[in-house]
Amino acid sequence: MKKVLSGLCLSLVLILVGCASGVKLNEVPVEDKSSSLVKADAAVNALSGKSAVTSVQTSALGAMNMGPAGIEKVVYFDYDSYAIKPQAQATVESHAKFLSADKSRKVALEGHTDDRGGREYNLALGQKRSEAVKRSLTLLGVSEAQIEAVSLGKETPAASGSDESTYAKNRRVEFNYK
């Protein structure tokens, strides 16, 4: 969507620029808007030197924000606990490896709680969880500068309900790569 909009904006700018500077666009019949747009696109491509195909590599774009491929982006916690569970340790290690390999990569660790209790206190509990994961990552060699530990408390649950399985799904830290 963003690409279409910026493409249209760019086209519009170029049409206006064309009118001002006397580029051949003026000779295009006013009714034939599509061909004038096509001409503008060609002008863009000519200016940037890239082919249209290059801008549509969504899988590559996705990988920028997804962290290590095939690794879970969330770890879960027991009630009233901030300890990384043994089964989550491998996940944390994979993220540590990924971050260590490319020092330019940044991640926000988002701590969450289940919905029982006050909002501000739960915000602080979520913070404890995200900081526990941050500590694990830094102990595994990741630089502090690559990590921001934040909390969303009980504000954005992954599941809704009042049973233990819902609570368990909400007590988590999410890896949000920037």
Binding site: E120, A124, E148, V150
Partner: protein
């Protein structure tokens, strides 16, 4: 919409029950146990018309009769209904109404009205002026002393009609209780509606709400500045908690705290110059003081635990806050510049959300009791505590600026709602609110020139 659970018959019944269960009922005498409240609710509305005189010290409600204002139907706002709702929500009045309209210049038939056991009497009128404004007038009568207690007139444009009605409520309240009325004050609260969050500013009765902020991400912890012009709050629009200060009339806002990690729980100092906030910038959640215009924060707490939810003592001398340094969240107190910490709550294992009364003598807070989250009040002089509500999912209490009512969020039949409670007689009322889940209320201050 008002849901005031009061009935004279119920009150007499409860006093009897209280006397029977004297050993299990804590003093002071005005306290109702939860059993009493349960009985009152069972009474239902059917018995509301019983009027039994309660002898001795008890819950006295001031009787007042509101007459329809003459030509009230010319006004787009139902003036007497707004006044009635205000006075009922204060829980200090027993309001009766009279469909017979009498304007403020007519002298009441004192003998005739006294025979109907009426004591206080309000008359008034609404006149549409040639320029489109409305002239709202009223007069308050003391039928026992056959005295005119005063009145006023307001010439207002239509959007200010509710405000005129609230000012009439304030006048009546102040004349008959000798306390300052809060009906012209404002409240802030947050609603969530199909993944859209709004921060609302409304009249104290929950009506006339205007959205100060709309966001696809959560908004929590709104906190009024002492000048009533600015609101601090926490917004998650950057996918992390950030503290903003927002000028309500202009809509201009400024980020005051966006340090690394989480920034939350803003609480204005009484002099309006700074905010206490919870920051995780040095690891953990600790309380800092920061200038209201932003800048370098000064750390106030020094613990390796969670310290959060700061709330200033109104004289500015101390800060009450939540800490789990003792193993679970309790309320503590420290000097306003930081320093030695003293524990305040000892009942139960989970006490949060402290809110001090304007006179500094009472502390409202939320206590988890048997898995339920309940609004509690501590008398700071005696250290005695009492539960104030019948609900079990209470959150975020804050005092009205006259110290008589407390607003809080709770759940009624699974839906989030805002309530106010008169802590002296524990009569609660529900506020009309916006659509969607409604939470995070904060009561604004008296406005200058009110």
């Amino acid at each position: 919409m008002i849901n005031a659970s009061n009935s004279r018959f119920g009150q007499v019944f409860c006093k009897l029950i209280c006397k029977l269960l004297f050993v299990s009922v804590p003093r002071p005498m005005l306290t109702l146990t939860s059993i009493c409240m349960g009985s009152m609710l069972l009474m239902g509305q059917a018995l509301a018309q019983f009027r039994v005189e309660v002898a001795g010290v008890g819950i006295t409600q001031i009787p007042i009769n509101l007459n329809q204002f003459k030509d009230e139907s010319t006004s787009p706002q139902k003036i007497t209904q707004i006044i009635q709702a205000d006075l009922e929500r204060s829980a200090k009045f027993k309001v009766s109404t009279n469909a017979f309209a009498m304007d403020e210049s007519s002298r009441p038939d004192f003998n005739g009205l006294r025979q109907k056991s009426l004591e206080n009497f309000v008359t008034g009128s609404v006149t549409k002026l040639a320029d489109g404004r409305f002239d709202v007038r009223f007069r308050l009568w003391d039928l026992i002393k056959t005295q005119d207690l005063g009145g006023a007139s307001f010439a207002v444009v239509a959007p200010d009609l509710r405000r005129a009605a609230h000012q009439i409520s304030d006048f009546i309240y102040e004349k008959l209780t000798s306390e300052k009325g809060i009906f012209s004050t404002r409240i802030a609260y947050v609603t969530k509606s199909s993944n859209r969050f709004n921060l609302w500013i409304a009249d104290a009765d929950g009506e006339n709400a205007q959205a100060a902020l709309t966001s696809p991400e959560p908004i929590i912890s709104p906190n009024w500045a002492p000048n009533g012009q600015q609101l601090a709050y926490v917004s998650f629009e950057s996918r992390k908690p950030v503290v903003y200060v927002h000028d309500v009339s202009s809509g201009k806002r400024k980020i005051v705290a966006n340090f690394k990690g989480s920034n939350s729980a803003p609480s204005w100092s009484p002099d309006g110059q700074s905010l206490a906030v919870t920051l995780s910038r040095e690891g953990g959640s600790q309380i800092y003081l920061i200038a209201a215009s932003g800048g370098e924060p000064q750390r106030l707490t020094q613990s390796s635990s969670i310290d959060t939810e700061p709330n200033f003592m109104p004289d500015g001398s101390a800060i009450y806050f939540v800490s789990d340094r003792g193993g679970s969240p309790q309320i503590y107190r420290m000097p306003a510049k930081g320093g030695p910490v003293a524990r305040v709550t000892f009942n139960g294992t989970y006490n949060i959300s402290p809110s001090l009364s304007p006179d500094g003598k009472f502390l409202a807070y939320i206590s988890r009791q048997g898995g339920q989250f309940k609004l509690y009040l501590m008398d700071l002089t005696t250290e005695r505590v009492q539960a104030l509500t019948e609900t079990s999912a209470d959150e975020k209490p804050s005092f009205a600026p006259n110290g008589k009512l407390i607003i809080y969020a709770t759940q009624i039949q699974g839906k989030e709602a805002l309530m106010t409670v008169n802590w002296e007689n524990k009569i609660s009322a529900r506020l009309s609110g916006q659509a969607g889940d409604i939470r995070e209320p904060h009561w604004g201050p008296f406005l200058k020139g009110n």
